[in-house]
Symmetry: C2
Subunit: 238 residues, 2 copies
């Protein structure tokens, strides 16, 4: 079992891989490379955090355009037919069988693997801390975003509060930005962590910070320090 | 500090007391005695459970018609102007100052007391288990209800699942009935327990079961046994 720290990292949007049977969902290569298909840089950050924090990691290897694993099957965003300025032809007019196949082959295996990993770590004596790693685009629908790193939470804000309290001003840090629980982005947190009473947080990193090696390095060092400090601080309080 | 077990009972609708300055909210005595003003029998059940489980208890001493402490200030149900078949004249046309006064004198003190009690018990080494006790009317808007005891939960169903798995068939037990999280009744659970990662459940008892001493006795014995078993079972799993 990887990871001697309680931190379990999750990367739902790690990859832009679209299995060949989906014919790129009718998209251009440019669209498949873009942030609509994945969170560029997020997996790399997560993998470096694995090493720095001695953490475990569960990452999805299929594009969120096939199925967005941070959404339940009931969400209209689970298999979007439109994302920002892009039409996604391969997600239009899906049959019930198409939808069920995506749930069965993408969402359910990911959810099961993540749930089993958490349960195994509890069995192994850990009190898991769930940290999901995401990236977001500097502009959305043409509007620039000031926030550089978002610290997101749903009803259980224990870890997010601690991180926001400890964070220095190196980056523009904001609570529940550029999205928040009302946007439906806390599904993994609720479904996997809050449901089990586990401390949790979702980290959103503006992806222009991750474009250079130096930029990624800086973000990873900063995040590793902040997550460690918040967890130690949590332990002292408990 | 009362209570050597981890169980902290909560009774938001314990009392039908309306402070005299509210002039009974314009209601008849009959309405103030009815279930719209409180959960008849719930406090008595909670007080007996305190003894049987060696639990702590936080109960609201003011009617939910003045302020329903199982609702946040943002909820339209926090100070209802209509409840089932009753108009509540004293809740019509409230000014912003009226609303704020009720929040400040009823909701906030209750929420603060409950939160501080939980924090103190955590400081004292407990891992609190939050159990809220409610009762409901056998008929609602003329329609009879089959469910006798509801086991309610929001996103963290750990304790509810355990109780539902262990419960015998003495009563008609149902999950999230006659209400559920979509009806906004899990505010206390979310705000006080789920936010802290604490196991929690809301118990709804059909109030005709509580009309006789024998009926209350039977329900209390049954609930005490079920709650204890579920908590012990939870410990074994952990």
């Amino acid at each position: 079992m990887q990871g001697k720290s309680p931190v379990l990292l999750v990367c739902e949007h790690a990859s832009n891989h679209i299995p060949s049977r989906y014919n790129r969902l009718g998209l251009t290569d440019k669209a498949v490379q873009s942030h609509i298909a994945w969170d560029p840089g997020a997996l790399d950050v997560a993998q470096h955090l694995v090493k720095m924090l001695d953490a475990a990691l569960v990452a999805q290897k299929i594009s969120r355009l096939v199925y967005d694993c941070n959404r339940p099957p009931s969400s209209p965003d689970a298999m979007r037919a439109i994302s920002e300025i892009y039409r996604i032809p391969g997600n239009e007019n899906l049959t019930a069988a198409d939808i069920q196949a995506r749930i069965d082959t993408v969402y359910t295996p990911f959810r099961t693997t993540l749930g089993q990993t958490i349960e195994q770590r509890i069995t192994d004596g850990f009190d898991p801390v769930i940290v999901t790693i995401h990236s977001f685009t500097p502009e959305y629908n043409g509007k620039p975003r000031d926030v550089e790193i978002g610290i997101l939470h749903d009803v259980d804000s224990r870890l997010a509060d601690k991180m926001l309290g400890l964070a220095d001003q190196k980056y523009n840090i904001q609570r529940n930005a550029p999205y928040g629980p009302d946007d439906g982005v806390t599904h993994t947190l609720l479904d996997q962590a809050v449901s089990r009473g586990l401390k949790n947080v979702m980290i959103e990193i503006r992806n222009d910070l991750l474009e250079t090696l130096q930029g990624r390095h800086d973000v990873v060092i900063w995040l590793a320090e902040l997550i460690s400090s918040a967890i130690i601080s949590e332990k002292e309080v408990a």
